[in-house]
Subunit: 366 residues, 2 copies
């Protein structure tokens, strides 16, 4: 096990070479049947890849989009001839504008593109206009910084979280908040990878996570590949897992956390939290502090997206329910703070209370 675990988590997003290099994405839509990488050299191909969910998970999309701005610069450079900074900048701005339309609700996408635009403005605002090549190098450095910072966030979450995990423990997780969703080793799965790296024997039980099966397709795949022992279950089996003492701890990710510690995450998370509490199993949420929404006093204010019935009734390529049936398919649910044992952030593990969250947010502001 240890030998395989040394392989480490997979890399969802990767830049190869210099400013004339290319973006390499793990093709997540083919997992778990095929493990291929898509090598991308132009903005339009990346736009399609984000849209097709070749890359998914808010942090991973943000990192990919940042490199997308560099692809904009690359497109100008490879046209050949003596390419000036203005020409490169125009191409980068077109790339940013185009990529912003790929996934209209992905917050990290806009955040990353905005940061690349500000960097571009900064590079152009110097006393001397840089060469096109130098401008592109500056942008690539910024994209790599975004990528590196995301990986560092993951690693810090992992280090803090790993301290909670004892040798021999089995962790239950829901959905995929792993390496495949970030520019690093994930949020919920990062403590697992870090604990394994530190020599602890950790097993994971992965909820398959209907309707889209991210647990079966992605979490089970990335852990198995990294050599972490993983057991797949259907979502309805979690209660049986807890009752039989098969799980020592739960760690899940989060899409949004309110000021009082209420957590919005993938549908099914709340049920796991209730079951964990009923069986005395600690329930942790792993998320970077950017997940906290200071404007939200509690979870009641989190809008719950309703998704297509077809995800439930035809999710496997053929109908599994009668046509025309009513379907309730919320994308998220809200776990009340009282069920959350602790929130694992890059700053440390905090309690899910108004005071603790407020303290964290204040410490970030200073």
């Amino acid at each position: 096990m240890t030998k395989r675990a040394l392989r480490g988590p997979p890399r969802a997003v990767l830049w190869r070479g210099g400013v004339r290099g290319r973006l390499s994405l793990l093709e997540q839509t083919l997992l778990p049947e095929k493990c291929l990488r898509v090598e991308i050299e132009d903005v339009e191909t990346l736009w399609g890849a984000i849209r097709r969910l070749v890359v998914r998970g808010a942090p991973a999309i943000g990192v990919a989009a940042a490199y997308g701005a560099v692809l904009g610069a690359r497109e100008a450079l490879v046209r050949g001839g003596d390419v000036g900074a203005r020409e490169v900048a125009a191409s980068v701005l077109r790339a940013i504008e185009r990529l912003a339309t790929s996934r209209p609700t992905a917050v990290n996408l806009f955040w990353a593109l905005d940061r690349m635009r500000r960097r571009l403005e900064c590079l152009l605002a110097g006393p001397r206009l840089p060469s096109g090549e130098a401008l592109a190098r500056g942008l690539l450095a910024e994209a790599k910084a975004i990528h590196r910072e995301d990986a560092e966030l993951c690693r810090s979450i992992g280090t803090h979280g790993a301290g909670l995990l004892r040798d021999g423990w089995t962790i239950l997780t829901h959905c995929n908040a792993g390496a495949l969703a970030t520019g690093g080793s994930g949020t919920a799965l990062s403590p697992v990878y870090e604990a394994c790296r530190a020599g602890k024997r950790i097993c994971v039980i992965a909820d398959e996570t209907r309707p889209l099966l991210q647990g079966a397709r992605l979490t089970a795949w990335e852990l198995h590949r990294a050599g972490v022992p993983v057991t797949l279950i259907c979502d309805g089996m979690a209660a049986s897992v807890f009752a039989s003492g098969r799980s020592d701890c739960v760690i899940v990710g989060a899409d949004r956390i309110a000021r009082n510690g209420d957590v919005a995450n993938k549908i099914g998370t709340y049920g796991v939290a209730v079951l964990a509490r009923a069986h005395g199993v600690p329930f942790y949420v792993a998320a970077p502090s950017t997940t906290f929404d200071a404007g939200l006093s509690n979870g009641a204010g989190i809008p719950i997206e309703m998704r297509s019935p077809l995800e439930v009734t035809e999710g496997f390529g053929r109908p599994t329910a009668p046509r025309g049936i009513e379907v309730y398919n919320p994308a998220f649910d809200v776990t009340p703070a009282r069920l959350v044992t602790g929130i694992i952030t890059e700053r440390g593990v905090i309690r899910a209370t108004m005071a603790a969250v407020g303290g964290l947010l204040r410490s970030l502001a200073t």
Copy 2:
């Protein structure tokens, strides 16, 4: 709604005509995509149909097997000529022996075949040997009695259960304990059908019930067909349903009930019970008194069958998880009596306690 509800539940098992008639089964493996009936005139075809799960659910299998003994008689009769009782009896015994190998662990199957064998012996033990035709008629009458008694059990459960349901309620159920699983209107779903017949407006939320999707394929189908409004959810959405006040009551079936009221049922049932309790929603189990196992003092003694990983990883005709992954796939879980609000039997609704179950068992013995 009322108009469609009058259509009534579908009939999983049906005998058409006299002793030279045929057995008609609803082809459940094609649901929900196609609704076809299989018309069966010989024992071997029935054997294959039981094995292929064309008919499933312990009570329905029992009823089909009873008619299978009649098919044995039919085979002798249609060979033509003057067929004597001995020839018919031999063919019936061959049928009984053959059908007993179709699903080796189905209790109702053995029970029904045994009852047909005893009826055969009784018919042969009279002072005068009957004609082959008369023997077959006697067996058909017995099979119809088994069928009618099962339908009556369902109806009684329905009547007692319907009294618990208020006009406008929404009932959450798990797996399929409906008409498709019995010779009548089901166990868990019978109270719903009876309440609708009595003019109450009842809606059902059906857990899809992974891994085999009996909720999506069968429960949603039979309710929709009968005109009962049904909403399909993934198993992990039940907590969200309860938290949002969308369900007033849970009714599930049971595979086996211990003397103290602990209930073994389809995997996922226990989780629903914990969630129902956490949200103050009553949780009922509907089952005939034959489901009680007097030899079992509590649920800890119920062996839990572990099933193939392929049901989880390749349940939809293509892999949804990495090859070679560990899978935990128990067929059942055990819901402790303390989470059961009541058990709806054909004798009335009882509490899930040692005293109440003991009282019921004693009343059956007298």
